[in-house]
Subunit: 326 residues, 2 copies
């Protein structure tokens, strides 16, 4: 299959209503679009490497496509923005055929469609293993953009959902294939394969001036909250973390301590926010009405640096560092 | 080395005056910038895979960084745009150390600085071989954007420089190491290692309404002109192609036919344009005054499809297809 033929196949898969917003789409040297006048553009890039981030044995091509885009969309959500377009650099190994590649793009395109993300092009190259890099551009009103450096002492820390399901699903696929067909863990596997970026939640929270800082929990609370605290020059005390039911069942099954598991659980793609304590009740009520989900308090921002439990012990645990072997 | 530490090293390498244009830079979930009101944004992505696009034996890390960004900037130039920012997805293998990574970013940052491109972030992951994917966003006045689908019968086809030097340099590095220290080929090696994106030329040509179509010659005239003709639903007749002196010397040395060599020579990063014949003389004179380089006519656009020589024989040769083994 030649590059031009493959580009044609992919073009027909990824064309969507959102593509019409592009002034220039797939097939030219670059894509072009007209940004809205009152909005900021945001851009984010994520890479997925076969054997490092996924295996073809454990994940279907369409799930890989979904996850790859979802990771980027989660970053867009964390800025309070909405997605505009994505570009995809795709390294194809000799082990995958056109079916695999097209299934990947189908999984990706379904999520792109549903979230209004236009596929604006990319690059296709040969590689020793499947290597995917996705860049998403979004836009956000200049007054609604949320960064991770605005947390203030006294703020309530909250997450947009319970934690750990995605990590449980990932561990089952990699280390406990005997549990993969157990119905008790179907939710965990789904959470890992089809994570849902919190775009609606992110835009809702972005609009409020009482939300002082926001980021996604892609690396786990331990690591991500450390980064928010470092950027904001604050610390935090943590209450009990909310754990997803499937993750709780997995911890019981494998005799793992649930709070540590939740603390280190990455790739949940929930949002972590620091909210003015006077506004938290009001925002949480409106959040539930708007999204159908609870905004769950997990602790409080402190002037003193370091992350501690309410009992005062230092949380030394770190999240998954992409460059440190697990 | 941890990801956070490496991100800090990289951040200090890539911070430049252009970074100040960013509303949010490296270190948050996404970067943000304020697009100019009267301009379109453009975006392009390119991937470089070790062993496929370069080898660490044949290329220094800073040259790889330069080339990786130059390929994207060439696409930005081909739209008539100027670069705003870049994101970099970097897959690091266990074979490279922090020095290699930082040298890569130094080579990249030097070109970014010189061209006003802010480094806006990216992703760093583990990979079996060094895998680099770069996305560049640029901007262009809505009236100056140039695509490849506007060529009209009668237009003069021209390139912004002689062809083949980069291909000669590449072949010397891969297949003829015995010539690598021969002073006659120093220009060829330099052309391959340090290609110069034609940003100034692209913006100059973008402004003229008599330039009907523009693209870069990254895959070689045979392949790229085929794409321009297909997009514009036209054909072309070709005159003799201008060949770079170092490429000419390489062809003589290796007994290669020069016109075929130039026709198939990719990665030159010159621009290919289709220009109204009544305006060609005026534009070429002003182009020389503005850039110091000649705009070199190579043929003419025809209503009849297919690419032919003046003598009438069909040019069947194709450029380098990234998915077809060479």
């Amino acid at each position: 299959v030649t590059e031009d033929a493959l580009v044609e196949s992919i073009r027909s898969i990824v064309t969507s209503p959102a593509s019409r917003r592009l002034r220039v789409g797939i097939g030219d040297d670059a894509a072009a679009w007209q940004p809205s006048r009152s909005h900021l553009s945001v851009i984010t890039t994520d890479a997925l490497i076969e054997t490092v981030h996924f295996t073809r044995a454990a994940m279907r091509a369409d799930d890989v496509g979904h996850r790859a885009l979802a990771a980027n969309l989660s970053d867009i959500a964390a800025m309070g923005a909405r997605p505009i377009l994505a570009t995809i650099a795709f390294g194809i190994s000799s082990e995958v055929d056109e079916t695999w590649v097209c299934d990947f793009y189908r999984g990706l395109a379904a999520l792109a469609d549903r979230t209004g993300t236009a596929i604006a092009g990319g690059d296709i190259v040969r590689a020793p293993v499947v290597s995917i890099s996705i860049t998403v551009v979004g836009e956000v009103r200049a007054t609604s953009i949320k960064t991770r450096d605005g947390a203030r002492p006294g703020d309530i820390l909250a997450v947009t959902g319970p934690l750990g399901a995605s990590r449980a699903g990932c561990e089952i696929l990699l280390d406990r294939p005997d549990l993969a067909n157990d119905a008790r863990f179907a939710d965990a596997l789904h959470a890992f394969r089809r994570p849902e970026p919190r775009l609606r939640a992110g835009r809702f929270l972005g609009v409020s001036r009482n939300v002082h800082a926001m980021m996604d929990t892609s690396d786990g609370i331990a690591s991500d909250l450390s980064r928010m605290c470092a950027a904001s020059n604050v610390g935090a005390v943590l209450d009990r973390l909310p754990i997803a039911p499937a993750a709780e069942r997995y911890c019981v099954q494998c005799e793992l301590e649930q709070q540590s598991f939740a603390l280190e659980a990455g790739e949940d793609f929930e949002l972590l926010v620091a909210i003015d304590p006077r506004a938290f009740g009001y925002i949480a009520a409106r959040f539930r009405a708007h999204t159908g989900h609870a905004l769950i308090g997990i602790g409080e921002v402190t002037a003193e640096t370091g992350i501690r439990t309410r009992a005062g012990s230092l949380v030394v645990a770190r999240g998954y560092d992409h460059l440190t072997p697990r």
